[in-house]
Amino acid sequence: MKAVSIKEVWVYRNRHPALENICLDLEKGDFLGLIGPNGGGKTTLIQVMLGLLKPSRGDVRILDREPEGARRYIGYLPQKTFFDRSFPVTALEVVLMGRFSKAGLFRRYSLPDREAALRALEAVGLKDRACRQMGSLSGGEQQRVLVARSLVSEPQLLLLDEPTAGVDAAQQTEFYELLSRLNARGMTIVLVSHDISAVSTYVNKIACLNQRLYYHGSRELAAEEIERAYGCPVDVIAHGTPHRVLREHGK
């Protein structure tokens, strides 16, 4: 069973193609880094995977189901969450929202739901903030609460759209380590990011999206490939060993 199977998908916006002939297969346990310029369609592709956006053409299967039917097995972190800073809700209540499909319509959250929510908060280092008002947390903390919300349902597929926005560098490393552990336990992850070097350290596949998908199936992505996708020269910075994943390349 493929975790994600996207075949020849086209999406049009105002008669202009936002996604052109996208083909993407992810096996269970894959960790895909999805990079690309702004407006290149990364968020659009995530929305297609969630069934929030119907492609004009092509076929999408998520975990062997229609995307809508797979939502309960997906953890999702939107690119930007707009909410009222004075909304009367605690961090724990926000995380619990991620258990919605597990709890079911009309049902109250159960004790296991609450325990899972506390564990998810612990995983992002915010257990002591559980009962704080969401609006009283810092921007980075709020983002980590939303990450916890995407993890709390123990999803088979995790879709993260720019998860490290507003999170400081030390916490970013911690966050990527957390993703590594989850991935090692078999969770399929799609990580949308601007941060090419950080992403390439942890993922096993990289794809670059700019309307078309430049996809290698391995995490070594040649500088020329990235340049073709971005349409201009890109400075690719690789970490030193042991995390070097990009080949040596000339400037």
């Binding site: 929030l52 939502r71 939107p78 969450t81 909410f83 009367p88 809700v89 605690t90 926000v94 929202m97």
Partner: protein, 268 residues
């Protein structure tokens, strides 16, 4: 004071007025905070105005105006919800059109019936003293229904109010839930028309929740606080209007507004 209260409650119309007012406080306390959090204050006001179409029709045909008012409020709630989600008409445009159409129909129907001016005044500005026991029964039934719905759908309504886009992505039936919320708003608004009138309904629906939100942090406590505040405004407003012989609807709203300004000043 006790004597006066005793004297007031001798009157049948005062007892039913108080019963209707207290039930309405429960409604506005619970639905009002969702109206605030979902930013549907203008929709709610539009629904209230559109209800006038049904009220006028009932009045003209000799049916129960409150019953037909509920029907037209429901149709408006669904209409606004569907027009704004299925067509290119923006939501506030749809509200403006529905609201004016309802008012115009109401005025037209009432002008065709008997006793035009006095009764229009009652519906626009409220006439709690004309609440019948039958009205009280309808109000109690609606209050109970809405209480049950909110208890059953508490976690769904929280997701809808906080982050509907995420809700949709995790499989929450956002569209239907939003329509259901509008239906509950329609019920609440029609009930309150009896008490404070179409023009002032929106104040009674939102002020208790707005004050509760300034001082309380969790949703259930804000609801409880709003219900208590609504009950105080309605009952104190009734007593004051009885003593001073001034219109009850206006007195209730002025009390609520005064409390809101004081509360806002204290918050600073």
């Amino acid at each position: 004071m006790i004597d006066i209260l005793h004297e007031m409650l001798q009157y049948e119309f005062m007892r039913s007025a108080l019963a209707a007012g207290l039930a309405a406080s429960v409604l506005c306390g619970i639905i009002g905070i969702y109206v605030i959090l979902n930013r549907i204050v203008f929709i709610s006001d539009g629904i209230a105005h559109a209800a006038f179409g049904g009220i006028g029709l009932g009045y003209f045909l000799g049916f129960d105006p409150l019953g037909l008012g509920i029907v037209s409020a429901l149709l408006t709630a669904l209409g606004i919800g569907l027009v704004s989600s299925r067509s290119k008409v923006s939501e506030d445009t749809a509200i403006g059109v529905f609201m004016a159409t309802g008012m115009a129909l109401g005025i037209l129907f009432m002008s065709l019936g008997p006793g035009y001016a006095r009764d229009i005044f009652g519906y626009l500005f409220g006439n709690i003293l004309a609440v019948s026991w039958r009205d009280v029964q309808i109000i109690l039934l609606l209050t109970l229904l809405i209480l049950v719905l909110v208890v059953l759908l508490y976690k769904e309504l929280l997701i809808l109010s906080f982050d509907p886009l995420y809700g949709e992505a995790v499989g929450l039936p956002v569209q239907n839930l939003r329509l259901l919320l509008l239906v509950m708003v329609a019920f609440s608004v029609v009930v309150m028309i009896k008490i404070v009138g179409i023009i002032m309904v929106i104040a009674l629906l939102t002020i208790p929740g707005a004050i509760g939100r300034q001082h309380l942090k969790s949703l259930p406590w804000i609801m409880a606080g709003s219900v208590a505040l609504g009950a105080i405004f309605v009952s104190a407003g009734l007593v004051i209007s009885y003593l001073l012989d001034v219109p009850s609807g206006a007195t209730i709203i002025l009390l609520a507004a005064a409390a809101f300004f004081i509360s806002t000043a204290l918050r600073r």
